[in-house]
């Protein structure tokens, strides 16, 4: 069991190394090593664009919920407008990247695992190899890059929408003016809050796409195997996201960011 886990982690590390090497090669190499702009654009569209409405909806609600949850305890101290500080900080540093990543895991990660798994079952991966096309470069790299880029973009959008959600509740239910809310948010937020959130988003993007590709390419046993890989991708990715988030938050805390 332990040995098997080490082997799986080793295989995962190897795939990640090959993907990063392929990205490097694509930047310096010629024909046969390119990723293809059209392919990357198509993946970005597929992974990211379809997730925009759901990320916006979920983060709007989370901003609103956080605003309401914080209102009562802060009202006891007569500082209700400070809810804006809490919502902004929590969103930019934590909830924006994490919630966007969880949504993208369900949307993009599961789709990637299912797609690659189906390709394994249909001998398409072997066909790529037989045509001297590296599946890591051709399939994994565009998906990894697209997920990283789109998750960073979605996080920026999600951050703003969550603050808007908090502001909407603050304005209509708690009587906090829009200018007052934005002033509190601006005062609380610093560049590093935004940057640490984006760094997390980039790492989460790498995690989601690489786990999805790894699980998809390891599919065995036909349609049943594809289903299993898809559900496992979602579970493993969410667990990995939380663990890596804890790691990064601890590191930023000790580094004083």
């Amino acid at each position: 069991m332990f040995r098997q886990a080490i082997e799986v982690l080793g295989d995962f590390g190897l795939m990640l190394y090959r993907a990063l090497a392929a990205i490097h090669e694509s930047l310096v190499g010629g024909r046969g090593s390119r990723i293809g702009r059209a392919n990357l654009w198509w993946q970005m569209n597929r992974v990211g664009i379809s997730s925009i409405p759901i990320v916006c909806l979920v983060l709007f609600c989370i901003g609103a919920i956080l605003e309401l949850q914080m209102a009562k305890p802060l009202a006891n101290f007569g500082v209700v407008p400070l809810t804006a500080d809490i919502v902004s900080l929590a969103t930019f540093r934590e909830l924006g990247p994490l919630v966007s990543a969880v949504v993208l895991t369900g949307f993009g990660g599961a789709a990637i695992a299912a797609e690659l798994g189906t390709m394994v079952v249909g001998e398409e991966i072997e066909a790529l190899e037989a045509q001297a096309i590296d599946p890591i470069r051709f399939l994994v790299v565009p998906r990894v890059l697209a997920t990283i880029i789109m998750l960073v973009c979605l996080t920026v959008l999600g951050d703003l929408v969550a603050v808007f959600g908090g502001m909407t509740v603050g304005f209509f239910w708690l009587g906090i003016g829009v200018r007052q809310y934005l002033a509190h948010s601006r005062e609380m937020l610093h560049v590093q809050d935004f940057v640490t959130g984006l760094i997390k988003a980039g790492v989460f993007g790498l995690l989601i796409s690489s786990i999805a590709c790894f699980m998809g390419l390891r599919v065995k046993g036909g349609a049943e195997g594809v289903g299993l890989a898809t559900s496992r991708t979602v579970v493993y990715t969410i667990v990995a996201l939380i663990l890596v988030d804890l790691l990064f938050t601890s590191a930023f805390f000790y580094l004083g960011f």
Binding site: R31, E115, G122, E123, E124, A132, D134
Partner: protein, 266 residues
């Protein structure tokens, strides 16, 4: 006789307890169509994949172009694969691409040809397999036989010197099977490449073969010309060719311990 294009030398392979190749050896000569026959699960397709460098061997070696496939570097392996056309059992077309894009992919990846030239080549190769009018269709819109023909055209795009066919007629009706066989024979005659066809369909095998080999229990039990196979009195060959249920190729029924097993006395 010419030097072999591919030399299989004493290869061994196991999947768990199951022996797939047991010191298997065979030479494949240029311009020849070799048909490898054998029952389901006898290791025919695994042998093709081993010759593509997709299956690592436990022992022995396969020499291709003067080099052992197992010790080729990644670029050497890629060069070897570029020189081989491979027709998969299912056709293995990329489902997210049109037929035309399936064919164009290798040229876009491996050549500096202009897109307009690639499109012309796509039409020429689709015409060769009788699918030019279907170039904008998705693989899901094609029949089994058409998928295989499109897979064949795709493999031809890189102008290979050697061609591997994995069960080219499996699952097809007799007419489609005959069409694929005719296509294989025509291409072989016109383009003169070396072909290795893996099949258990006897009619197809005799239609295309210059030389035949029967794989059983990890070894080639018989290798010879089609006429030798036809006229052979060997019970093993006769059982395979005549499709007899009883004979040396049949799985032993395993009567020992049967009563104990049934009555759960063990």
């Amino acid at each position: 006789m010419d030097d072999p294009v591919i030399a299989i030398k004493n290869i061994t392979k196991r999947f768990g307890d199951r022996v797939i190749f047991d010191r298997l050896s065979l030479d494949i000569y240029p311009g020849q169509t070799l048909v490898i026959m054998g029952g389901s699960g006898s290791g025919k397709s695994t042998l093709l994949r081993a010759m593509m460098g997709q299956v690592p061997l436990d022992g022995g070696e396969i020499i291709a172009g003067g080099r052992s496939i197992g010790s080729m570097t990644e670029p050497q392996l890629m060069d070897w694969r570029k020189s081989v056309g491979f027709l998969f059992q299912s056709g293995a077309l990329f489902n997210s691409m049109t037929v035309a894009d399936n064919l164009a992919l290798t040229m876009r990846e491996h050549s500096d040809l202009a897109e307009s030239t690639i499109q012309i080549m796509v039409k020429i190769y689709l015409q060769m397999v009788g699918l030019r009018q279907h170039l904008n269709k998705m693989p899901a819109e094609l029949s089994g036989g058409m998928k295989k023909r499109a897979g064949l055209a795709r493999a031809l795009m890189m102008q290979p010197q050697i061609f591997f066919y994995d069960e080219p007629t499996a699952g097809l009706d007799p007419v489609s099977s005959a069409q694929i066989d005719t296509l294989i024979s025509d291409l072989h005659r016109k383009l003169r490449f070396t072909s290795v066809v893996v099949t258990h369909e006897i009619k197809s095998a005799f239609r295309v073969a210059d030389r035949m080999a029967l794989l059983h229990n990890g070894k080639f039990v018989v290798v010879g010309a089609p006429d030798e196979f036809r006229s052979s009195k060997d019970p093993l060959i006769r059982q395979f060719i005549d499709g007899l249920s009883v004979g040396p190729l049949s799985d032993p029924r395993g009567h020992e311990d049967y009563e104990k097993d049934i009555l759960q006395l063990g």
